[in-house]
Amino acid sequence: MKTLSLRNLAKTYFDPYAGSHVTAVHDVSLDVQQGEFVSVVGPSGCGKTTILNMIAGFIPYSGGEILLDGKPVIGPGPERGVVFQSFALFPWKTVLDNVGFGPKMRGVPKAERDKIAREYLALAGLSHAANRYPNELSGGMQQRVGVVRALANNPAVLLMDEPFASVDAQTRMTLQEELTRIWQERRPTVVFITHDVAEAVFLANRVVVLSKGRILDQVDVNLRRPRVWDDLVNDDEFKRLSASVLQMVRAA
């Protein structure tokens, strides 16, 4: 059953400095099934973040349509959770209050939203950090909070915009493994934007390759789960998929 549908999506904006229109996204059509994990990979400037921002409702689109469970998307909303590269945690709120923010906006009473938040913090192994402030945590821990904050709101689709790009390489691998584990437990629908081919293949059921605002190709990934880097670095199927996606991205 498809959840998210992009139909001939396009984005054109006016560049006042160049004095002309620039097309960032041409005619992109994509269906995402419920419970699917889709990675969108492409070089910088290929329009992947623009697409995510349009799905999130942060920027308007200039052509086509975005449907979520059959309803057109207008503006940001809690049914589309977002995880940011910049983490975007509220620095003046404790970790617990950050995770409980979505339920708070829904009017969930304090005691109950604390319970929800604690449950999700436990999912990410962060129970000990509940009463700390974001700036007291490492980058990796901050982004774990970012992920569970979005999940705690139980969104129909989880949008992730290069979420692990600003943490160190070792932490990134751990976060990727944890994300696949959480995905297996909760089965959220995920659209994951990245420029890292190995990351895209490691996480996803399907990799969408984007180039110059168009979908170049799509690759299904049927690697068995749970996925851990120790197994996959030497896995022939993983190597073959990564190589073929990499080739497309580089040719793009």
Binding site: A88, F90, F101, G102, M105, Y133, R149, L159
Partner: protein, 268 residues
């Protein structure tokens, strides 16, 4: 050399134990120099009173009740003006900081009126409102308003865009974003603005009291000039400095640190 190091180490340990001392000790040489100059009779007493004269005058004026009354008048004027300045300045700053149109329209006007210093308004204010509370309040509000508005705008604009986006996609309405994201994000800057505003306002108040006043510390000093009492003038000056030091170092600065540093918004 060793003796100096010993002294230095002693000073550090002493001020660490009683932080209040760190504020007092630097004034000891100043007061000592003042005492020496007056005791040596470099200037006639009527020109430059000594520290003891000033202390005596402080005791007398306090005993008569004049000083507490005037001090209270000045502080109430400052606080009322500051409260009004904030009540106007914070919403205006948020409006200008969040709306591009409001920014375009208000910003040049704001800078224009900022340039007309508070005291420059006095001639026309005296014609409009006369020698009274309205004139004084106008000047204080005017003085407090600009630092509060400008810093609030700065604070609102410094809140990362992703924070508002995150809040929106977690289900916050634009009004909730204002309350949950914009205001707390701008708070450290707003407090900085308030700190500056109160500092300027305090100075403006004294100037206005000298010209307009019927009471207050500024009036006390100007009235003392009429009577030729340098002691009371110097006392007034010392009270100005002392009071501001207390307000700034004990209330405003800790408040600024408590918000900014706790959240990691200000690094230091």
């Amino acid at each position: 050399m060793n003796v100096w190091l010993q002294c230095w180490s002693g000073y550090i340990r002493l001020t660490q134990r009683w932080p209040g001392l760190a504020a007092i000790i630097p004034f000891i040489p100043v007061v000592a120099l003042w005492t020496v100059v007056t005791e040596a009779g470099v200037f006639p007493r009527a020109f430059l009173p000594g520290p003891l004269d000033v202390v005596r005058s402080f005791v007398t004026l306090t005993y008569k009740g004049i000083l507490p009354d005037y001090l209270q008048d000045s502080l109430i004027r400052l606080l009322a003006g500051a409260a009004l300045g904030m009540a106007l300045g914070i919403p205006l700053g948020i409006l200008i900081g969040t709306s591009r149109w409001a920014h375009r329209i208000c910003w040049p006007v704001l800078l224009f009126f900022q340039a007309i210093g508070d005291i420059a308004w006095l001639p026309i204010l005296l014609i409009w409102f006369g020698f009274g509370l309205t004139t004084m309040t106008f000047v204080i509000v005017y003085t407090v308003l600009f630092p509060v508005v400008l810093n609030t705008v700065l604070g609102v604009e410094s809140v990362p865009r992703d924070l508002a986006r995150a809040a929106r996609s977690l289900g916050a309405s634009p009004a909730r974003v204002l309350w949950e994201v914009t205001l707390p994000g701008a708070l450290p800057n707003i407090i900085t603005g308030l700190r500056n505003g109160l500092g300027y306002g305090w100075r403006a108040l004294i100037a206005v009291e000298i010209i307009v006043g019927t009471s207050g510390i500024g009036f006390l000093m100007f009235d003392a000039r009429r009577a030729g009492s340098t002691t009371e003038i110097v006392l007034g000056m010392i009270i100005l400095g002392l009071l501001w030091y207390i307000v700034d170092a004990w209330i405003l600065a800790p408040l600024e640190r408590a918000t900014g540093q706790r959240w990691g918004l200000v690094t230091s």
